[in-house]
Amino acid sequence: MSGGARKLRAAREGGQQAPYAPRDLHGRGTDKKEGWFARLWLNYKKNKAIYWMALPVVLYFLVFKYMPMYGAIIAFKDYTVGKGIWGSEWVGLQHFRDFFESYYFWRILKNTLLLSFYQLLFGFPAPILLALLLNELRHELFKRTVQTVSYIPHFISIVVICGMVVDFSARGGLFNTIITFFGGQDSALLSDPSNFRTIYTASSIWQELGFSTIIYLAALSGINPELYDASRVDGASRLRQVWHITLPGIMPMIVILLILRIGGLMEIGFEKIILLYNPNVYDTADVISTFVYRKGISEGSEFSYTTAVGLFQSVVNFILLLGANRLSKALSDNKLF
C-alpha cells in the first residue's frame, strides 16, 4: 500500500522534477525504431535483478489467478464431470437467467451489498479515527500499549474469533450475561436474523481496527512537522490542525484504500459468514459467496450454475472498481490506475 502511495506521489511530482530517472528505468529514450522485444531485452540486461525479483509474483498471478479463469467457461455450459470442460454442452446464458429469476436472487444480492455497505460505513472510518486519536497522544508508553492491544486480534485466526463470537452470543454466554445484568432477556443472539449484521460488522471492526490503523499512522508520520509549528504560530487549535493539516496529509491514502474497498464491495468475507451463520439467519446472512459454496460444493454439486453466480459477482466487482476509480479521479485527481 505504501508502494501505491509512493507511486502516487511520484506521479504527482514526476511532472516537474527528475525527468531523467524514470526514463532510464523504463528503457525509454533509446532509439524509437527498435522493436518492443529488443527494448525489453535491453531493459532486462540493465535491470536483471528487478526482473528476477518480479518473476515469482508474475508466476503467482498467472498460475493462481489467470489459469483458473479458463474454468469459468463452464458458466456457459452444462458441465458434467464425465464429459469434461470442453465436452460439455453449451447452454449460453441459461445459468445466469436461472439465477436472476431465482427466488433467492434478491435476498442474497441485498445481503451482500448491505453487509458490505455496513462494513464500509462503520468499518472504514474507524481506523482513521483511531489513528487521529493516537496521533494526538503525547504519552508514548500509553500510545504504544493502546496500539499493541488493539492490533493483537488481527493475528488470531478467524476460526478462533468466530468460535469466540458464537460462544459469547449463545444462551448464557458472555454477551447474554451482560445483557441480563442490565435487565435484558437471555436469548440466542445468533439465531435472530436482526442481530446478524450488527454482530458481523462489530466483530470485524474489533478485529481489524488496530491493524488497519498502522497504515494511517505511517502516513501521518510523513507529514512535515513544520506545518504544525507554523499553524500553532498562527494560533490554530488542535482540532483546526487535524482538519487543515492532518486530514489533507493522509487524504491520498484514504482515497486509495477507499477505492480498493469499493472494488471488493461484493466480495464479502465468506469464511467469516460460514463460521457465524446458521439456517435461522439466512434471511440476513446468506450472501453470494456462501450461496455459491452451499449450492456448489457443500450441499449440492451444481458446478455450472454456481460458477455463473460467482462470475456475476466478479463482473459487478470489476464495474464497481472502475467506477470508484473514475469518480475519485474526477473529484480529487487521486487514482489507482
Binding site: 464425465g82 433467492y104 449463545a170 439465531s191 454439486s301
Partner: protein, 526 residues
C-alpha cells in the same frame, strides 16, 4: 568478527537441520517404495469417511485389525483416504470435479449419476466372474438384487447389506426416572406426549423437555421433530402415500403439525435452541439433565449417554418410547427401517487399473471367513466360539484400556457403520449390552414392516432426471427448512401456510414428484 562467526554457525545449524529432515524424508520414502515392491504394485486406494468411533483410537482404517487381516488373506495392499470430518460432501464433490479419483470410493451416492458422468464403472460382469460370494447372495435374495440393480439391470456398487432381523437403529428415548417420579405412563399419542412434556417443564423445570436438533446436519428439523410429524402419516420429504409419491410439507397434515409444534415452542416444551444445536450442545443438554426426551441411536447413543448419566445420578434411567401416533391404537408407519441394501456401497472408479483384483478382494467380506472378520474380528483375540456362537471377549466388552464397547469394536473390526459386507444379527445381540437397549430394539422393530409401505425404495434416476431433481429440491429444501423454523418460532404466522405451499409449487415440486414417481414405477417393474 564475532558476529559473522555466529551467523555462520547459525547457518550451518540450519543447514544440518534441513538436511536431516530431507534425509529422513528420503529414507521414509525408500521404505514405502520397498514395501510396495513386495508384490510389484501400488496399493489400492480406498476413499471412505472415517467413522468417529474409529478416529478416537486410530488415524486410518488401515490400522483396523480386520483390515490388516483382510489384506493378509487376499494378498491385496490397500491405502485408505479419509476426508476431513464434517467436510465429506465438499471433498467428495471437489474430488469428482478434479477427476483425480482413487481406485475405490465408498459412498452413499447417486450411483447412476456417477456412472453416467463416467466416474465409476459397471460391475455386473466383474461380479459374475470374480465375486462368487456376493453373486450367491444376490441369487438367493432376489429382493436384494432388485434393490441393488439400476433400472437397466446395471450394478454399480459392492453393497453393504442388512439381511438379518435388525433394521431399525434409533428412536425416541425418555427419562424413565422422571416418568416414575411424576407417576406418569409412557406417552403413546401426541396428546399424551404434550401432557408428559408439560409435566417435565413444570415439575422438573427443565429447559428442553423435548430436545431435538441437528446432529450431523441431518436437517434443521432433526430426526426427533420428524418423529412427531410422522405421527400424522406424512414425513418431511418425499414418501409414498397409498403407493403414490407425495411431498410431506405440502400435505394438509403438515399444517396441523406446525400448529402443534408452534404451540409447544411457545409453551417452552421444546428446546428453544433447536435450530442452532450441534452435537456438542445436544450432548451437553442430555448429560446436564436438561432434556426429557430426545431421538438417539440404540447403540452409539444410549451406550454413551446412559452410563454417563448414571455416573452422576445412579437413579437416572432412559427407556425407549414407541414412535408416536395421533390416536390410541394407531400403528406408526415411519420407523426409520433400513432397506436390505442400506444404500451404501463401494464403487470402482475408472482410474482403477486392477478392477478384477479389487472386486475379488472386496468379495472376501461376503464369504464365511470375511463375514466373521468384518463382524467379530479375529478368533481368540476379539471373539471365541461358545457352542457355535461367536462371543466377544473382554477386549471388546470390558476393554482393558477403558474403551467403550462401540469404540473397542471400531478399533478391531467394522460392524457399527456401513462397509462392504453383511451385518450379522449376533453382533447386534451382543452390541446392545444394556437391558434398555435390548428393550429398545424390540420396541422399535415392532412396526418396522409398515415402513416399507411408505418409504421410497432404492430407485435410480437418469442423469438428466437427477440433475433436474436435485436442482428443484435444493431450492425447496432450503426454503422448507427456513420456513419450518419461522413457523415454529412464530416469525411467520401459520395462516401463511397456503403461501408456503404455493411457493413450493412455484419451485416446481410437481415435476420433482413426477420424476420420483417415474423412477418408483420403473423400480416396481424391475
Amino acid at each position: 568478527m564475532a558476529q559473522s562467526w555466529l551467523r555462520k554457525a547459525a547457518l550451518l545449524g540450519a543447514t544440518l537441520i534441513l538436511g536431516g529432515t530431507a534425509l529422513s524424508g528420503c529414507s521414509g520414502g525408500g521404505e514405502e517404495a520397498e514395501s510396495k515392491q513386495g508384490d510389484g504394485k501400488d496399493p489400492i486406494s480406498i476413499w471412505a469417511s472415517l467413522n468417529t468411533n474409529v478416529s478416537i483410537t486410530l488415524k486410518s482404517m488401515n490400522e483396523i485389525t480386520a483390515i490388516k487381516e483382510w489384506e493378509k488373506a487376499t494378498g491385496v495392499q490397500t491405502k485408505f483416504e479419509h476426508p476431513a470430518v464434517g467436510a465429506e460432501n465438499e471433498q467428495f464433490n471437489v474430488m469428482l470435479a478434479s477427476s483425480e479419483l482413487p481406485d475405490v470410493m465408498f459412498v452413499y451416492g447417486d450411483y447412476s449419476k456417477l456412472y453416467n458422468d463416467g466416474s465409476i464403472i459397471r460391475l455386473n460382469e466383474l461380479i459374475d466372474e470374480y465375486a462368487p460370494n456376493l453373486k450367491k447372495i444376490l441369487e438367493e435374495n432376489p429382493e436384494v438384487a432388485k434393490q441393488l440393480k439400476a433400472d437397466n439391470g446395471d450394478i454399480y456398487a459392492i453393497p453393504h447389506l442388512r439381511l438379518g432381523e435388525y433394521k431399525t437403529f434409533g428412536g425416541m428415548f425418555i427419562r424413565q426416572d422422571w416418568l416414575d417420579e411424576l407417576g406418569l405412563e409412557k406417552p403413546e399419542t401426541l396428546d399424551e406426549w404434550e401432557t408428559v412434556l408439560r409435566a417435565f417443564k413444570e415439575k422438573k423445570g427443565v429447559n428442553a423437555p423435548l430436545l431435538y436438533g441437528a446432529p450431523p446436519k441431518l436437517s434443521t428439523m432433526g430426526p426427533a421433530a420428524a418423529n412427531f410429524l410422522e405421527a400424522y402419516g406424512i414425513t418431511n420429504t418425499i414418501f409414498l402415500r397409498n403407493g403414490k409419491v407425495a411431498y410431506g410439507p405440502i400435505e394438509p397434515e403438515y399444517k396441523t403439525f406446525l400448529e402443534m409444534f408452534h404451540r409447544w415452542y411457545e409453551e417452552g416444551l421444546i428446546d428453544p435452541d433447536f435450530a442452532t444445536n450441534d452435537q456438542k450442545t445436544f450432548d451437553a443438554k442430555i448429560l446436564d439433565s436438561q432434556a426429557g426426551a430426545f431421538f438417539t441411536f440404540i447403540g452409539g447413543g444410549v451406550g454413551r449417554y446412559l452410563p454417563a448419566l448414571q455416573e452422576k445420578d445412579p437413579k437416572a434411567n432412559m427407556t425407549a418410547v414407541q414412535f408416536p401416533v395421533v390416536n390410541k391404537g394407531d400403528e406408526p408407519m415411519f420407523t426409520g427401517r433400513s432397506w436390505e441394501w442400506s444404500g451404501a456401497g463401494a464403487t470402482i472408479t475408472k482410474s482403477n487399473k486392477r478392477p478384477e483384483e479389487t472386486v475379488k478382494a472386496l468379495d472376501y467380506f461376503f464369504g464365511e471367513e470375511g463375514h466373521m472378520l468384518k463382524n467379530f474380528g479375529v478368533e481368540g483375540e476379539t471373539y471365541t466360539m461358545v457352542d457355535g456362537y461367536p462371543t466377544y471377549t473382554d477386549e471388546i466388552l470390558h476393554n482393558p484400556d477403558g474403551l467403550s464397547v462401540v469404540q473397542a469394536m471400531a478399533k478391531h473390526f467394522i460392524a457399527n457403520y456401513p462397509f462392504v459386507g453383511e451385518d450379522d444379527d449376533r453382533y447386534n445381540e451382543q452390541y446392545y449390552q444394556l437391558q434398555q437397549q435390548k428393550d429398545a430394539v424390540e420396541l422399535f422393530s415392532k412396526y418396522s414392516d409398515n415402513t416399507l409401505e411408505v418409504s421410497i425404495p432404492p430407485i435410480s434416476l437418469t442423469t438428466e432426471e437427477s440433475n433436474e431433481y436435485s436442482k428443484i429440491m435444493n431450492d425447496i429444501t432450503t426454503y422448507r427448512d427456513e420456513m419450518f423454523i419461522k413457523f415454529v418460532v412464530g416469525a411467520e404466522p401459520i395462516d401463511n401456510f397456503d403461501k408456503f405451499v404455493e411457493q413450493i409449487k412455484k419451485f416446481d415440486i410437481d415435476r420433482a414428484i413426477e420424476i420420483q414417481q417415474d423412477a418408483v414405477d420403473r423400480y416396481n417393474a424391475r
